[in-house]
């Protein structure tokens, strides 16, 4: 239990997927213009990351390790995650149209999200068990949610600010992201 808690805090705050490991930057910069869309994206990421962690760790543990093909993990994980998202999408469309509609376009978007693949690879690298992998995936997704929601909130306020012409648009967002990363560096040493 203690170990899981440590993994959770470590994955969500200390080793924040966006601000510390710089994974999943495309959605972090792309869909953080409005809190609503950021929340939608976060929901989809939490959903996919948790499920993907479970499946990839099962496949890693019972197929790749057994056949000593660990070096094929990147290819296999991409395959598994892409297929998984497709199945989940079909499943949701059929049984929960409302959830499908609220996740909307974000679900297929994160099929190839590097953060999702990154979590699977980190889980394999750290040799986590299946439950630990799921917890780690969920915590990483929560970390992503935290980062993107804070970013969206800041960006909504930046809209009203008088920003120097040379850093308007993407530059100010990247500067903000850098400052956020520095702030999150304050969590270092917590675990």
């Amino acid at each position: 239990m203690k170990e899981l808690l440590i993994i959770t805090i470590g994955a969500a705050l200390v080793n924040n997927v966006v601000l510390n490991q710089f994974l999943g930057l495309c959605p972090f910069l792309g869909v953080s213009k409005k809190s609503e869309t950021a929340a939608g994206m976060s929901g989809a990421v939490i959903f996919v990351m948790t499920i993907a962690s479970a499946f990839t760790s099962i496949i890693y543990k019972y197929i790749l390790v057994k056949t000593s093909l660990e070096y094929m993990q990147t290819i296999v994980f991409i395959l598994v995650i892409a297929a998984l998202v497709q199945v989940v999408e079909l499943f949701l469309k059929k049984f929960s149209p409302s959830l499908y509609e609220s996740l909307g376009v974000y679900l297929p978007l994160i099929t190839t999200n590097c953060a999702v693949l990154g979590v699977a690879l980190i889980n394999a690298q750290k040799d986590y068990g299946i439950l630990t992998s799921i917890v780690s995936g969920l915590a990483t997704a929560i970390g992503f949610t935290l980062a993107i929601l804070i970013m969206a909130g800041i960006r909504e306020r930046i809209e009203f600010n008088d920003i120097p012409e040379s850093v308007q648009g993407s530059p100010i967002v990247l500067i903000t992201a850098g400052l956020m990363a520095i702030a999150f560096a304050g969590f270092a040493g917590l675990v």
Binding site: L69, V76, V80, A83, V87
Partner: protein, 279 residues
């Protein structure tokens, strides 16, 4: 020398590893592929393209006259058979037919209609009780004692609440009263609902004669406030051979179902309140 090096590299590759790796990844790919295929078949359901097709047929003005949030919402309701295929009051019967065909339904052809403002009390014909200096809106003017500045409490106030709700630019204030542009009017009924005086009604497009007054006041009282009001003389009722004029509360009203556009009523009307509108 070159040949020797080449053969060394060639031999150095552990071929069984390559084959195992290829086979394992191919097998995983195959299994996932089959599972995806099965999932797609099991979870397959027909995507309703009718919603998009219905949306294409609808006018797309988003006037809201159908009671839905816009054309998209109505298209969805029609596609899910929550709304009848002729729910759009703006679309003509040809469009209704197309939508009904698409949905496999049968609709009765509706008679084309028009909005008609039942007031002829223009600035010079109708008198004012007082000068109104309030908000230029019919509903606001209605709150003032006497229900507006017009001497006739039934008449059009002319502030254009109906003009504001019209999505088709089909109604305008001319000479102090609202007038419908027959070319542009789609009979969506938004102005009918908006008018605080309930002056506007939907009439069949083929009708040509209208009693352009809704005043139920007595003839003398009508006369004192407006020279274009129905005084309740009953001459038209007598003139009509088709029994197409109802007479109630000092007011003549043409029954458009019975009216054959003969025009006898307009000929005998002493105040010329029966207007002729030829399309």
């Amino acid at each position: 020398m070159n040949n020797y090096l080449l053969s060394i590299t060639f031999l150095a590759i552990n071929w069984s590893n390559v084959i195992i790796a290829t086979l394992v990844v191919a097998a995983i790919g195959l299994i996932i592929g089959i599972m995806l295929g099965i999932a797609a078949l099991k979870l397959d359901f027909a995507v309703d393209t009718r919603e998009l097709e219905v949306r294409e047929l609808l006018p797309g003005v988003n006037c809201g006259a159908c009671g839905y949030a816009g054309c998209d919402a109505l298209a969805k309701a029609i596609a899910q058979e929550e709304a009848p295929s002729d729910a759009c009051p703006v679309a003509n019967s040809a469009t209704h037919k197309l939508i009904a065909d698409l949905m496999g339904q049968v609709v009765e052809e509706r008679e084309p209609q028009l909005a008609y403002v039942n007031c002829a009390g223009t600035c010079e014909k109708a008198k004012d009780k007082y000068e109104y200096h309030g908000l230029l809106d019919c509903k606001a003017a209605m709150l003032v004692p006497g229900e507006g500045h017009k001497s006739c409490s039934f008449g059009c106030l002319g502030f254009g609440s109906c003009v504001n709700v019209c999505a088709f630019d089909a109604i305008h204030i001319i000479d102090g009263i609202a007038l419908v542009d027959e070319e542009k009017c789609t009979a969506c009924g938004m102005c009918v609902a908006e008018c605080p005086k309930d002056l506007i009604e939907l009439v069949p497009k083929r009708s040509e004669y209208f009693v352009t007054c809704i005043s139920t006041a007595k003839g003398k009282d009508v006369r004192t406030v407006c020279s274009a009001g129905c005084i309740g003389c009953r001459l038209c009722v007598k003139a009509c051979e088709y029994d197409a004029i109802d007479f109630n509360n000092n007011l003549a009203k043409i029954d458009y179902d019975k009216c054959v556009n003969c025009g006898e009523c307009a000929k005998v009307c002493p105040v010329k309140v029966i207007k002729i509108v030829t399309a």
